[in-house]
Amino acid sequence: MASVELRGLTKRYGNTAVVDNVSLQIEHGHLVCLLGPSGCGKTTTLRLIAGFVEPSEGEIRVGDKLISSPAHTVPPERRQMSMIFQSYALWPHMTVAENIVYGLKLRKIDRATIGQKLDAILATTKLAALAERYPGELSGGQQQRVALARALIVEPETLLLDEPLSNLDANLREEMRFEVRRLHDEYRYTTVYVTHDQSEAMTTADLIAVMNLGKIEQAGSPEDIYDRPQSEFVARFIGSSNVIKGRGLDATHIDFAGVPLQCVGATIVAGANTPVSIRPHDIALSAAPPQQFENVVPATVVRQVFLGGSRDYMVEAKDGTQLRVVTAAEANIPQGSSVWLHLPSGRCRALAS
């Protein structure tokens, strides 16, 4: 088995770099999510790995074999990979069973083995009753499972998934997320998963690579990405962070609405305008003046909404910055009231500006 490595991978169409100097090391047996908004280059990166697209610069290695470089590209059919497409790409003129065994037949495997493997995968994906149907006669979720079965039966070294759940309805999507992860754990191939849905990435991935404008903004574990965003883009895209801006005072403090705010994360340059992210859940809000005044900012309630399990506030600091704060549902402070916000220093992350 093998790891997948991208080194300085670049794809240009004309003068636009759709994928721009992307480097990523994917350990064998890991599940990596390429996460980003549409047009960020994640699908092109996946198609580069699959070999449908040739790189303009950089290279892709599987194990110690070079499979893509500007001079030399192994065609997709020689890469020992499987892929699940956004459209599922089930062949409408073949039955479910014919679709699934297609890859095995190409590998010249004997009939008996094919039969065994087919039965096994049909059982795993709960498709046994549908084997003789045509794709047009299946529901979205069933088609999805056929696509999974077709990709998995060839026991690929690497599995590529291109937004595989985006055509499913919400309930089914949730269910299939865990299914993808369960099958991955069962077979342990290296998986690259492309999605624009952060909760999909959170539930399935070992490693998330957040992409924007053709570049990887940040790669790390789901906890890393969520708790320790390194850029404003990642902070805003993953969960919905408040990003406040203030002038740097020293290496660990910025000036926010007249209050010196202690932060962690990137080293702050004195005098530089520095973005700082903090999650709505991490801000403590009180109607009474607090005991201590470190990292405490006075503000006014602009509006608040009762959401059942919690309460969603919009508050405004003295300098006009608006912040979202999520509190317990009981903390009912009327609109227009003065409040004090405690921004715990460990939760204020200075970002690269």
């Binding site: 699959a50 599987v62 499979i67 065609p75 059919e77 020689r78 790409a89 003129h93 590529l160």
Partner: protein
């Protein structure tokens, strides 16, 4: 476990290696098909026949009364036919698409029937119906009124008669554009007007009609073009009446002594006007994108016609009697009757005409053989070229694919008779002396068939998601194997339909064939034209009915294929 990848270096992207020659090869082929005859046409139009440059051809064309008259006649015919077509087809299209007119599906089918009727066949049928003396309608008139034998109400051999017959088989172009445009215009656009207080008729006037106006305008242009480039109907109806249109004039220049230079000069304006009008149609229709924005739309609410439903329906049937019921009845009558221009009775009914055509007429066998050879060859070659070009452009497989797509559609702007003249000039000289052989007809037919075949197959490719091929490749199939196992089976119906479609198109082609045929290379459409000159209307009717049956079979089959609904034959 290690990755089982081949160690030896692979040449990059197998597809690129094959596709370059494919691109250049096909671009060259298309250039020969289109550029060569058109270049010769241009050169000849500025030549005096001895190889020197001259403008005399054009001076003659625009000063000699024997050329000016056809020019004017053609303009009158095209303009009036276009106006008549719009006046008839636009209301009918609206009635069918937006009102509760009964049996609207049947009306659409009848329009399709007149759409696919070869215009020259329609013209001959109208000869049987409305020739001044022998015409069946005139006979009916005389028997009702007891008028003298030389009195007639209809004379099809006249300018109005010709305009009428041309309109009969041209109005479907306008109808289809208008009805399609209305079908695609979402009902919500009209509902939005209603909810804001617009009454039904107000909405129709302020919303619906402006939305279809571009389609109507485009339809008017297409109808004008069709009327201008038609050869069969004017040759059948105008020549006996003693006047010419541009197409018959060009044809007459090939009668002895041939004047190909003048013919080339006369063909050039037709070509230029066609290119300009198609360009205009494209611009008009291209701007209409706003009426087909995405999203899900419901069925439009139909406007109730109330008490007018059935009278209007009957009126529509009456209108459709002119291009469909009456001519078809006339052909059937002529086929079964011993004399084409008398009404058949059970007593006089005979199969003599069938016997004559099938077993006695020696020309039939040759023409039939030539047509089958040319039809199959054209269909096979044309489909093959179209499949490859459609694949290249649909998958954007090579850089420069746009050029191929453009070249494949270009012949649409070359009227059949113009192509005939160009090919005649190009292939009567060394190194390619093809005149007098079936090859020259094959080249003409392939060129004529290519645009429609290409557009059909491109539509077929568009319904096949590229990921279907990708999925096959990532599982281990090569590009060729993927094409064979995935794309080919999915494309099969489309390819077969295109093949049949081209075959039928060849059968109906007259305007290029009439310039290029010789006695040994006569085809069925030319045979019909010859038989008409000899007054053999019964034989024509038999052949014509056979032709219509084959055409209907193909059209009905093709219409069942998704995405193929909008195909149109070229009339000639």
């Amino acid at each position: 476990m290690t990755v089982a990848l081949p160690a030896r270096a692979e040449r990059r992207g197998l597809g690129i290696d094959v596709s370059k020659p494919v691109l250049y090869g096909f671009a060259a082929l298309l250039c020969v098909l289109i550029v060569l005859p058109m270049s010769w046409l241009l050169i000849y139009s500025f030549s005096d026949g001895k190889g020197s440059f001259t403008l005399n051809n054009f001076v003659t064309l625009f000063s000699d009364p024997t050329f000016l008259a056809p020019l004017l006649t053609t303009f009158i015919i095209s303009t009036s036919a276009s106006l008549i077509c719009c006046a008839v087809a636009a209301p009918m299209g609206w009635l069918v698409a937006r009102t509760d007119l009964p049996f609207s599906g049947m009306i659409r089918a009848l329009v399709t029937a007149s759409f696919v009727t070869p215009p020259f066949l329609g013209a001959i049928a109208w000869e049987i119906l409305a020739a001044p003396n022998s015409g069946l309608l005139n006979k009916v008139f005389r028997s009702i009124t007891g008028a003298e034998p030389d009195v007639h109400v209809f004379n099809i051999y006249s300018l109005p008669g010709l305009i009428f017959v041309i309109s009969c088989y041209t109005f479907p172009y306008v109808f289809v554009l208008v009805a399609n445009s209305l079908d695609r215009t979402p009902g919500e656009l009209e509902d939005a007007s209603s909810i804001l207080g617009g009454g039904r008729w107000h909405t129709a006037r302020r919303i619906t009609i402006p939305l279809v106006l571009p389609a109507l305008l485009a339809g008017a242009l297409v109808a004008f073009l069709q009327a201008m480039t038609l050869f069969g109907s004017p040759a059948i109806l105008a020549l006996p009446a003693g006047f010419h249109t541009m197409t018959t004039k060009i044809w007459s220049l090939f009668q002895y002594p041939p004047k190909p230079e003048l013919a080339a000069a006369a063909a050039l304006p037709l070509l230029v006007i066609t290119v300009m009008l198609l360009r205009a149609e494209f611009m008009i229709l291209g701007r209409r994108g706003y009426s087909v924005v995405g999203g899900k739309y419901g069925q439009p609410r139909l406007i109730p016609l109330h008490a007018w439903r059935w009278p209007i329906f009957l009126f529509c049937l009456l209108v459709l009697a002119l291009p469909v019921f009456l001519p078809y009845a006339a052909l059937l009558n002529a086929a079964l009757s011993p004399v084409a221009t008398t009404f058949v009775t059970f007593k006089t009914m005979t199969l003599h005409n069938f016997e004559f055509v099938l077993f006695e007429l020696s020309a039939t066998r040759l023409a039939l053989k030539n047509t089958v050879i040319l039809g199959s060859a054209t269909a096979t070659i044309g489909t093959l070229i179209a499949v490859i070009i459609a694949y290249v452009t649909a998958r954007q497989a090579v850089t420069g694919w746009r050029v191929l797509g453009f070249l494949a559609t270009a012949p649409i702007a070359i009227p059949g008779i113009v192509l005939g003249v160009g090919l005649f000039i190009a292939y009567t000289r060394p190194p390619f002396v093809l005149y007098g052989t079936l090859w020259i007809l094959l080249i003409a037919f392939v060129t004529i068939a290519l645009p429609a075949a290409y557009q059909q197959l491109q539509a077929a490719f568009r319904t096949i998601h590229p990921e279907l091929e990708d999925a096959s490749r990532i599982l281990g199939a090569t590009r060729l194997k993927s094409l064979w196992q995935i794309t080919a089976p999915l494309l099969r119906t489309g390819v077969i339909a295109t093949w049949c479609f081209i075959f039928v198109g060849v059968m109906r082609e007259l305007s290029a064939a009439i310039i290029l045929f010789t006695s040994e290379t006569k085809v069925i459409s030319v045979l019909i034209y010859d038989l008409n000159e000899g007054g053999d209307l019964g034989a024509i009717s038999v052949i014509g009915i056979g032709m219509l049956l084959i055409t209907f079979a193909v059209v009905i089959a093709v219409n069942r294929i998704p995405g193929f609904g909008s195909v149109r034959f070229r009339n000639s």
